[in-house]
Symmetry: C2
Subunit: 230 residues, 2 copies
DNA sequence: TTATCATTCAAAGATTTTATTGAATGAAAT
DNA sequence: ATTTCATTCAATAAAATCTTTGAATGATAA
């Protein structure tokens, strides 16, 4: 094997990793796995795929070393291989968000209001939490809340919001947060709440960023994602 | 458009970026562009492709926002869009290197010697440069050296090494460096030099990492890559 | 041991991606 | 105005990726 062939093999190997990132379903899966570990069934349902298809995509991710599995009872749980995968995914997602005009258009479109974005960043939120100025709700599915959530947040899954409005305070700001910047559940929640007369904002990032920024969380060890291999 | 369709569009847009990273030729191009801006012709030659093929791959990268072009005379120069692309590429490359056993096997194979790796890291190198203990050679093509190089390095392109051995000192360590960790020219140089009786090491990373670490360089402004748009 | 059921596999057709070829463009230089 | 030539385009065939379907696996729980 000459130098040229060696070089080509190297980049082909590297491309195994990037190829596994090149499919939109797999990106959605990764974004979900940034929240914790889940069974194939859960992933298929929450990323809107058939179980067989999800299984195949998960195997691609596993073969490239981005995710790993553990079995518990009759379920196989998939998780990100380690923190570096989370870090790299966040960098990539951030790059895509900043570079791609279309995405920003889509997000703005979705939020419908260009002028008042009702956004709050993580530092502002942290401050308000500490001075007890906000009521913080986690609109992700309960399962994900249970795996870990922002300190002092209450779980109020997006699909139960309408029926549980009376649990919310009217005398304080409400902040809703979600998985990450691409997660739309928080947008919908904030939209609804403001329509109903509440004073609501959304966290501009999400739980995975919060975690990566080492801000206070509950119930989830920071090293949940750490592989303790061998 | 409902939420599900929105979500799907978002990830599809993001996948435009990751898809453009999913081809081994394009990875090699990115790795080259981490050194500076080059014409289509130069890129085609140094990444071992036909010009038409390189042009098409470059257009994919451009459409996804990862690279940009400027014209100078009759050449069109492609460059990374901004520092964030370089950062993200380095993170991705690092992840691939650490995750992929095959790549490490290939690199070890290439270096042929598992026990003595003749590697030196950038901090060690910097120290030795400052105390004048090493003779540092840049084995990349002269064009790339001219765009910028490690302070105090001399240019000795890989393909001229054999004929110019007499220029090298025998009383000092020699350190060779190259584009990045995947660049094999430094390995070959170190191999040859040690065979010829010199005391040679290679920098374990490369010029792009050196630059990203803000270590001293010559001739290239740190913001060569900065887009000054509009 | 047997039944259950979450997950994976295998095959096939549809879609997308890729390399090659030769021609077309169009900016710069003469 | 014309020529040059770096780059891009367009068409095609080959290769790879993706989704669906229904069946197979194989670990767990009974």
């Amino acid at each position: 094997m000459n130098t040229r062939e060696f070089k080509s093999s190297l980049y082909k190997q590297l491309a195994l990793v990037t190829k596994s990132l090149s499919n939109h379903h797999r990106l959605e899966i990764l974004d979900l796995l940034a929240q914790g570990s889940f069974s194939v069934e859960y992933i298929a349902e929450h990323a809107n795929m058939s179980v067989a298809n999800a299984s195949q995509h998960l195997q691609v991710l596993k073969k490239s070393g981005l995710v790993d599995t553990t079995r518990d009872g009759k379920y196989i749980y998939y998780q990100l291989f380690d923190e570096r995968v989370l870090e790299t995914w966040r960098a990539l997602r951030q790059l895509g968000l900043s570079q791609n005009h279309e995405i920003n258009m889509l997000l703005e479109d979705y939020q419908k209001r260009k002028d008042q974005l009702y956004l709050i960043n993580s530092d502002q939120l942290l401050q308000k939490i500490q001075s007890n100025e906000v009521y913080l709700i986690d609109v992700r599915p309960k399962e994900e809340y249970n795996l870990g959530h922002i300190k002092n947040a209450d779980s109020l899954p997006h699909n139960q919001l309408k029926e549980r409005l009376q649990e919310l305070p009217t005398d304080r700001e409400i902040v809703a947060y979600c998985r990450g910047p691409l997660c739309l559940m928080a947008d919908e929640a904030v939209n609804l709440l403001n329509k109903k007369g509440f004073n609501a904002y959304r966290l501009d990032s999400g739980f995975d960023d919060w975690l990566a920024e080492n801000k206070p969380v509950e119930k989830r060890e920071m090293n949940t994602l750490t592989k303790n291999k061998e």
